[in-house]
Symmetry: C2
Subunit: 407 residues, 2 copies
Amino acid sequence: MKNVIVGQSGGPSSVINSSLAGVYCRAKELGADKVYGMRNGIQGFLDERLVDLGEILKSEAEVEMLKKTPAAFLGSCRFKLPDAEKKPEVFEKIFALLNKYEIKVFIYIGGNDSMDTIRKLADYGLATGSEIRFVGAPKTIDNDLAETDHTPGFGSAAKFIATMAKEAIRDEVVYSTNRTIYVMEIMGRNAGWLTAAAALARGEDNPGPDLIYLPEVPFDMNAFLEKVGALLKKKNNIMIAVSEGIHDDKGTFICEYAAADKAVDAFGHKQMGGTATYLCSVCEEKFGCKTRAIELSTLQRCAAHLASQTDVDEAFASGAKAVEAALSGRTALMATLNRAGEDPYRCEIDLADVHYISNVERLVPREWISEDGDDVTEDFVRYALPLIQGESWPVMENGLPKHLVLK
Amino acid sequence: MKNVIVGQSGGPSSVINSSLAGVYCRAKELGADKVYGMRNGIQGFLDERLVDLGEILKSEAEVEMLKKTPAAFLGSCRFKLPDAEKKPEVFEKIFALLNKYEIKVFIYIGGNDSMDTIRKLADYGLATGSEIRFVGAPKTIDNDLAETDHTPGFGSAAKFIATMAKEAIRDEVVYSTNRTIYVMEIMGRNAGWLTAAAALARGEDNPGPDLIYLPEVPFDMNAFLEKVGALLKKKNNIMIAVSEGIHDDKGTFICEYAAADKAVDAFGHKQMGGTATYLCSVCEEKFGCKTRAIELSTLQRCAAHLASQTDVDEAFASGAKAVEAALSGRTALMATLNRAGEDPYRCEIDLADVHYISNVERLVPREWISEDGDDVTEDFVRYALPLIQGESWPVMENGLPKHLVLK
């Protein structure tokens, strides 16, 4: 009797299901009886919404398609587990359910909040003498988890962002005769890893973005406008990459200025606007030229059709490592990705104490950002480039990617 | 002495360079001496900014990479050729330059306006007894050219749109527990072909968009809100695809309502907003739930990494056909794509009189749109599906698509 349960939580990524496949395959290899999936994370588990993954992943082909399907196969949730002292009844219910289904191993694939869930459950388990083991598998496009060199999901999002930046810049330069400012808005409220990835577009065949602004450095509107003005004297088409989370030195998000005096339309409805749209409006007014805001929106976290094979493989391996550790009796850990070699790049999967991970946010080091705060350095490029290598082209059917879906 | 010149004009597409490759390769096969490219279309030609394509496309590998490079390789322009009666000096200059470079064949790859250029030059040539031949090769993601079943560029844009819709819907359903309305804004000011392509996302593994609004049918805000309200009673996540050009029965673009009372921000700058953002704000206010606007922006016209092989091949063939016709002495034509077979799909490249094409806009037939105007019919799906078939994966280098670029 060695049942395993696995859940997915937090925001989607292109490879979160490759981690799930890793958990499933390794658990089976190591002799687990049943591998349950919880639908919509811990929230669904509390409602006993379980599936038997063995009944779904019947062949190698289904496992392969799962690895190439974006967004949480099992569904996700944003459920913050309370503290055990404050609401012991939640923990009692969870452990009662785990015992009911004879589960010995609990794996949670997710980011910061999910590791907080692992930490709380593992600590409660240890305190109550339970033999159930809790281990996390990392997942976040934001790349902001501590104790790991990078996170599964980041490489694929970075590959999509750099590709779209490359293609969008190709698109813009065809009109070399008209002045236009493009602002590409990229996810990242506090950490600028994803926005920095736009720098990867640079190469012999592409100039890449002209300016890159991360949330790690306060955004100075006047300095920004000066830079853009200087660039417009040299070239007609300017591409600026910005994190959605850029803010000024008072800590006010730039997009909040856009919303400061929300417009009311002809019907009396309030307007909304993002960071890129706002910067475009500021530039349009200042320079009187055409602008275009490009928001990568949710596309950047689900574009599995352009996933990085390195990322897919590492996600799988980290899921496998997590379940392996738990099955061997370890708890309160998260699988980590350690850079074991630079040239050639080599990644070893390791484990770290989840207490050092939950609720910690890893930002882009200041020294990887240019002094003026408007670009990233070569150090960042050297760091990120190995993570986007290799193509994991989707299973195509009738001209479109085919996904494995839980009915 | 049989020199050819080719130019690209109007908006970019993923396969506009495959048409260019088709012109170049067929011209060389048929014994053309030099094949010139004009930089930035007719505008660059007037400045004698020519390149000798034979010096650039030296090997098969370069031709293949050209076919997979998005956006006009030669650069584009938005230059409206005046009427010959009004400004004969422009035509005199163009023909003098054509004679100077001993050019007998002039090929222009583009949409409506480009075909207007071909028409005017061909008519002027015929009226003045010139032997120079002018033929157009179709190009537009908008799919709105007359006399052709579809246009090169549409299939690849449709494939990207349907793929992103599929992936974005996968992304949204992971939170089945929260109510969210997604609005995806797709290009198309007057013609809804591209927005209709979102319907292709539907399949066994994806529900596709819940509502689809094209500019061909006036948009009724009250009916829209009623539909959304009814959908919210049945499901938590709703995906709505809208053309940027939807307008009400008075002809006012919906995005104009957003701009009606433009907000002024904390710095006194004016706000901007798109159709999707506007509909999101209306829905947010009406239903009090989360919304997210997804604008595909320029990404949809340059995402060559997801080009349709059918589209790439047809673009090449139409470029080849255009130069073949011109070299055989014909003029005032455009290459067309005729659907010669349904099952299996078969496309024949033909020619049509450019006088019937320039300045005509082909819209989605009313009978391919649902009666309520909030979806497309199976007829549209049958029409579009063959056009997205086949993958033209990019040449990858260091994890990213590699493009051929004119220095």
